[in-house]
Assembly symmetry: C2
Homo-oligomer: 127 residues x 2
Amino acid sequence: MARSKSSRPTDRELTILRILWDNGPSTVRQVNETMNEDEDTGYTTTLKLMQIMTEKGLVVRDESGRQHVYKPAATEEKTQKQLVGDLLERAFSGSAEKLVMRALSAKKVSAKELARIKKLLDELEGE
Amino acid sequence: MARSKSSRPTDRELTILRILWDNGPSTVRQVNETMNEDEDTGYTTTLKLMQIMTEKGLVVRDESGRQHVYKPAATEEKTQKQLVGDLLERAFSGSAEKLVMRALSAKKVSAKELARIKKLLDELEGE
DNA sequence: TACTTTCAACGAAAAAATTCGTATTTTTAC
DNA sequence: GTAAAAATACGAATTTTTTCGTTGAAAGTA
């Protein structure tokens, strides 16, 4: 039976999505090996997570070969937008300004990036 | 025994912190009533959460009166910075630029806010 | 004083997330 | 062809988070 769907991905699920976005469609083994660069995780643990993610609709899998190949169901953009929108409401009471301020103070940003962000702001202002 | 500490607040914990930041130091009853504006939660549920948060060091409480008064242990700023920094790493591979882009696309921002953000960027650029 | 209300403490149930062991099937290597 | 390796499925244990019922103490009230 299909699971609940459409709530935020959990931490582990996000780890896996991140790997799939970075590396492209992958098998369980490939994902597991990438995960193990940071922290050891049993193969069947990764497998189970990815099976659950399939049920939830977070990933889709190609079962035609012996090794199933998984890819994210949603684009990186859409998921990021959902996650940041969620944090915006829960931690920032909807104030995007404050969130941006905190983001820029949490991490040093290069001059080039700053310039690109400013350009984005100009575009938004134009609307 | 004191609990693990220093990991992100959970969803419910963040809800409570949000209330404490907005309303100032509060009793369990006050927090619970605010929570119930959105979604019914039993009094003892809120109490238990706040007790656990005390053990974790997320809040501190004044036990001098009959009704304990709770306040956040960390500032709103510090917690927000932690949360956004965490999301930055987990979902955006550390790219603040992308996070800001997504934030601004997730939520409409007023012209005034845009202006303030630009000012902030100018200040950062000056460094 | 006796009754009611209000509160914190505590334990535990329920739900959600994470982890892993075992069984079975398929492929590969000898 | 047989044994080893590699894969999925499945169930279940564990951990974390969330929820709540019960108990007993303190405070208020008739």
